[in-house]
C-alpha cells in the first residue's frame, strides 16, 4: 500500500478490515460498542499518519491495542470487574449461519477461554491474516514469541474442543 489511495478506496479498505479490527478490539473491551469506539479512535489517530505508514494493517492493530489499553486503564475498575466476571454484551463475535450456530458458539467459547496474550495472536493471525513478524511488531513481542503463542493457543483449543466432544 505504497500508493496513496483515494477516499473511496480507503472507505472500501476500512470496510473490509473493520470486522477484524473490531474483533481484535473486543479482546480488550467488554462490549461491541466499546470495541467500535476503540477502532474509530484508533483510525482517527492513524489517519493523519497514513502517508508515513508503510503497511496500515499492523499499524492500525497496534493503535487499536494502545487505545483499548488506555481506555481500560481509565475505566479500570468497571471493566476489570466486567471482564473478570465475563459480563459481556450478548453480541456474537462471529457471523452465525443457521446450520452452524452451535459449532460457532462452541468455537467462540473455546477462543474466549484462551489467555488474552494467546487470544490476540490467534485473532491477528487467523482473522486479520497478519504474519508473525507483523504481529510481533504490533504487540511489541518477537515473531518467535508470537508463533509460539499461536501454537500453544491452537493446542489448547484442540484440547478443549476434544474434551467437549467426549
Amino acid at each position: 500500500m505504497n500508493q496513496p489511495l483515494d477516499q473511496e478506496k480507503w472507505r472500501a479498505w476500512f470496510a473490509a478490515h473493520a470486522p477484524g479490527l473490531v474483533l481484535f478490539a473486543r479482546q480488550y473491551t467488554s462490549c461491541h460498542a466499546d470495541a467500535e469506539d476503540t477502532v474509530q479512535t484508533a483510525f482517527m489517530r492513524f489517519w493523519p499518519q497514513r502517508n508515513r505508514v508503510r503497511d496500515p494493517r499492523p499499524y492500525l492493530y497496534s493503535a487499536v491495542r494502545t487505545v483499548a489499553l488506555d481506555a481500560y486503564r481509565s475505566n479500570k475498575r468497571r471493566q476489570s470487574r466486567e471482564i473478570l466476571a465475563g459480563k459481556e454484551s450478548g453480541a456474537a463475535w462471529f457471523e452465525c449461519p443457521t446450520d452452524r450456530q452451535d459449532r460457532v458458539a462452541e468455537l467462540q467459547e473455546a477462543v474466549k477461554s484462551l489467555p488474552l496474550e494467546q487470544r490476540v495472536v490467534v485473532v491477528m493471525k487467523i482473522w486479520a491474516d497478519l504474519t508473525f513478524l507483523e504481529i510481533g511488531r504490533a504487540l511489541d513481542i518477537s515473531p518467535n514469541t508470537a508463533a509460539s503463542r499461536y501454537r500453544y493457543a491452537l493446542q489448547a483449543l484442540q484440547k478443549r474442543l476434544q474434551n467437549e466432544t467426549l
Binding site: 473493520a18 473490531v22 474509530q40 482517527m44 489517519w47 460457532v104 483449543l157
Partner: protein, 154 residues
C-alpha cells in the same frame, strides 16, 4: 503442525467476524472525507514551536553580533590600538632592550670576537638610558676596552 491442528485452523478461518455497525463506517467515512493530511492537534503546535525557536535564535544572534561590534578592543586588553603609529613607552623599551637574534647570529658567524664585543657594547649603550642602572651587563662584566674607535657612539 499436525492434521487436527490444521483442520482446526481451517475451521477457525472459515468463521467470519461479526459485521460492524453502520455508525462506525459512517464516522470513519467522514474522517476519510475530510482528507486532511493533519488533523492531529500536535502538528500545528509543533510548527508554532519550531517557528518561535527559530525567531528567538535569530534575535539572539543579532543581539550578540551587535554587542560584539560595540566593544572597544582597548577596553578588553591593554595594548596598542590599530590607529597608533608609534607604540607606547613600555613596548618601545622592550623592543630596544632586545637584541635582534637573527642579526646577532649573522654577525657572530662573520665577524671576529672583538667586533662582536663592540657590537654588544653598542647595543648596551643604547639600552643603558632605559635601564638606568649604570651597567649594561648584569653578570658584572666590565665594559670592554676596545682599541677600535666606536662608531655610532651617542
Amino acid at each position: 503442525m499436525s492434521d487436527p491442528l490444521d483442520q482446526l485452523e481451517k475451521e477457525l478461518t472459515s468463521l467470519q467476524p461479526a459485521r460492524v455497525s453502520g455508525d462506525l463506517l459512517n464516522s470513519v467515512g467522514r474522517v476519510i472525507g475530510r482528507n486532511r493530511a493533519t488533523v492531529h492537534p500536535a502538528h500545528p503546535y509543533r510548527l508554532i514551536g519550531y517557528t518561535a525557536a527559530a525567531i528567538v535564535t535569530l534575535a539572539l544572534c543579532l543581539i550578540g553580533y551587535h554587542a560584539t561590534r560595540s566593544v572597544n578592543p582597548s577596553r578588553i586588553a591593554p595594548g596598542p590600538l590599530a590607529k597608533d603609529t608609534q607604540p607606547p613607552g613600555p613596548t618601545t623599551l622592550t623592543a630596544d632592550l632586545m637584541m635582534p637574534t637573527a642579526l646577532a647570529y649573522h654577525i657572530a658567524a662573520n665577524q671576529s670576537l672583538d667586533e662582536l664585543d663592540a657590537l654588544i657594547d653598542q647595543h648596551g649603550r643604547r639600552v643603558l638610558p632605559y635601564t638606568g642602572t649604570g651597567a649594561f651587563m648584569s653578570s658584572g662584566r666590565q665594559a670592554p676596552t676596545s682599541t677600535k674607535p666606536q662608531e655610532n657612539t651617542p
